[in-house]
Symmetry: C2
């Protein structure tokens, strides 16, 4: 396997994709869904090889779980293919068009990014999610999955290619780096001539490695240190419900709350009951001195590191603040600019929080747990961007395109 050949082939074929009809692309996706259902046993057999090898290598239980393709997850992949087929095709959409004094008509039309490299770890379902979004948006894709999922990924890619070939979609638009050699990633990251953008999906180590080595643009998803701020004008019933949900419903994900901020004016009315609820759910609390005053035996002292921490666990940092400004400053300073919420009934405070908190998703009176492409209504997502260029937050199908300028003239020249 030659990495440069793969990338070059992807680039060459990418120019043909822009003109392929939505109908053909949808047929590829639906055919892939059928094939996945038909070949469930083969997929499970290949996946089993990865699981056995993973156990032998001593992968953690969590890693093995991410690797697993059971009936539910296979159905999930089929569902994603149907969902993406149902989405509007963004390619060719003219989002604006205007006329200049010289008669030129200038428009912005969505086109594919070109060649998208996806570098991901363990979860083989990403193969199908990422490829389906690239197919639908007329991008060529280069898939580089984790070495631990090589057998699962190989069979899924072969199914996607079979579906493409059967519907007249160039199967070379789906490239797979069939290797467990990590140096292939480094090589891939040098090929900015052929690869237009790279999206790493995985742990912080992988993302930093990609960001530091890539010569092409990278769309990154770093950690989620999310906050809920309970304002002095909060409806406390809503606040208890939202904070509990944001921490406890699924603590291991990036949009779960990691730090709760409470205005001092409501601390006494709000915190004792809230701490009790968390205690009952087994949440470890690390608080500032004023928080600890309400439950000194239960709440551990927070250190400076706790304000930066992404626990991804049933642990929560809590701080009492004296003003909305202090809460906003805390979030902008210690947070990861992912998802943050205010609970308040005060219009002005809500709007100020919305404007001044510099995060990809800012909420008034709702749980941070909603930050997700599907939940937002974008359909499947390619990830959640914590970058500040191209896309912030959930990256949907549209974000795999970019407007180019189209200009209609009738002989205009520049004077």
């Amino acid at each position: 396997m030659n990495v440069e050949d793969i990338a070059k082939k992807a680039k060459e074929v990418s120019y043909q994709l822009v003109d392929i009809s939505t109908e053909v692309k949808n047929r590829v996706l639906l055919r892939a869904a059928e094939l996945i259902e038909e070949k469930r046993e083969v997929i499970e057999k290949e996946n089993k090889k990865d699981l056995v090898a993973g156990e032998e290598k001593g992968l953690s239980k969590a890693m093995l779980d991410r690797l697993l393709l059971n009936e539910k997850r296979i159905k999930g992949m089929v569902q994603v293919l149907h969902d993406v087929a149902a989405l509007n095709d963004p390619v060719g959409e003219v989002i604006k068009m205007w006329k200049r004094p010289n008669g030129l008509k200038i428009g912005k039309m969505r086109v594919p990014l070109g060649v998208v490299g996806i570098i991901y770890e363990s979860r083989p379902n990403v193969t199908v999610e990422a490829a389906s979004l690239c197919i639908k948006s007329s991008n060529a894709v280069i898939l580089k999955g984790g070495s631990e999922a090589i057998n699962s990924n190989r069979v899924l890619v072969s199914i996607l290619k079979e579906a493409a070939a059967s519907e007249g979609f160039p199967e070379e638009a789906i490239q797979f780096m069939d290797t467990t050699d990590r140096s292939a990633v480094k090589e891939m990251l040098q090929l900015d001539e052929y690869i237009d953008v790279v999206i790493p999906r995985g742990g912080e180590g992988l993302i930093r490695f990609v960001a530091e080595n890539a010569r092409m643009p990278v769309i990154k998803h770093y950690k989620g240190v999310c906050h809920v701020y309970v304002d002095e004008f909060a409806d406390l019933e809503k606040a208890w419900k939202i904070c509990f949900n944001a921490k406890v419903q699924r603590p291991g994900v990036c949009n779960a709350m990691e730090t709760m901020l409470v205005h001092s004016a409501v601390a006494e009315a709000f915190l004792p009951k809230m701490i009790g609820m968390f205690k009952e759910a087994g949440v470890e609390i690390r608080g500032c001195d004023r928080t600890r005053a309400f439950a000194p035996d239960y709440v551990k002292p927070a250190t400076e590191d706790d304000w930066y921490a992404e626990y991804l666990d049933l642990i929560l940092a809590v701080r009492v603040v004296d003003s909305l400004d202090e809460a906003i400053d805390h979030i902008n300073t210690y947070g990861s600019h992912h998802s943050d919420a205010i609970v308040t009934e005060n219009y002005t405070n809500g709007m100020k929080f919305l404007n001044r908190v510099d995060s990809a998703a800012v909420y008034i009176n709702a749980s941070t747990r909603f930050t997700d492409g599907n939940v937002f209504g974008l359909g499947a997502e390619m990830g959640i961007s914590t970058d500040k260029v191209h896309v912030r937050g959930p990256m949907g199908l549209e974000d795999l395109t970019i407007p180019k300028y189209i200009i209609f003239g009738d002989g205009q020249i520049r004077e």
Copy 2:
């Protein structure tokens, strides 16, 4: 001067900018315009220092010309400040908003990028252009100009800061790297914690250096290898006019034509006159064999390198092709994805070219010379992006913002 302190200060102050009213921002720009007019003599005196030093260092005539701030260029800077003040403020614009089944209202609202680093060479007017766009879009800016323009840049920055201070706009939002030490750039490119995006403006060497060393996103402007394709269904009168304009009107810029492609069916009718026009204008022509057949004494043979060349001069590569597909393949293979035009009266060929040519700006029946933020109607421009993420083509005020998600709830939690 400590680079990290500068970047940190810019980041801190950037959070205050989002709430500053359009009115205040416009007053800063108009006050800066006044001050530049008032202080014209001081500016010219400081600029003179740079010119004298440049001459001593033996800078080329072209370099010295770019460095020069004469009356016309100073007026140009004043005009840019007025133009940017007149533009719509993109910050806070909600470009979409929808409702989810659970009642959540989700919108996308434009916010500043945060801290924008501009690394540029020789031309001191860039100081004012770049800073004015950043002020208007509520971004903090870090300006790192060329060492040869240090005195000119220093006085322009002091004027901008004075204007900011007089109108209550935080002057720390305009940061200037007051150094001629190149290692400061390398240091700056490591500070992804504080700088959200870097825009290099200058030659290819500078841009490659920035792209390879930056840890934050970079918006790049590489070369412009632009084409005009004269289709078999071209109106030849338009074709002669457009091709002549695209090559001759200002050959030293990125949107000038570097290669002309001609369909073989019209080569005989089109090329002899066209070659004559170019000859008269002093354009050196390097052609394929079929081009040379029309004027073997004048047209030099083109080599493979000529198809890749950005001459930025009165030199033109010419190739005869046998089909629209061949023209499109040539452009996508050898071009730089900047600006390309077709001359045709055939609807289907025009639309196919528009869809399949993978360039930032694709024209039907107009000169490529129009690719420019001002000419497109975007107002001033920050540069022309040849990247495929965030923005393609002229980068205007709006492209210095990015939508974030805003979510209005009334107590929603995730089940």
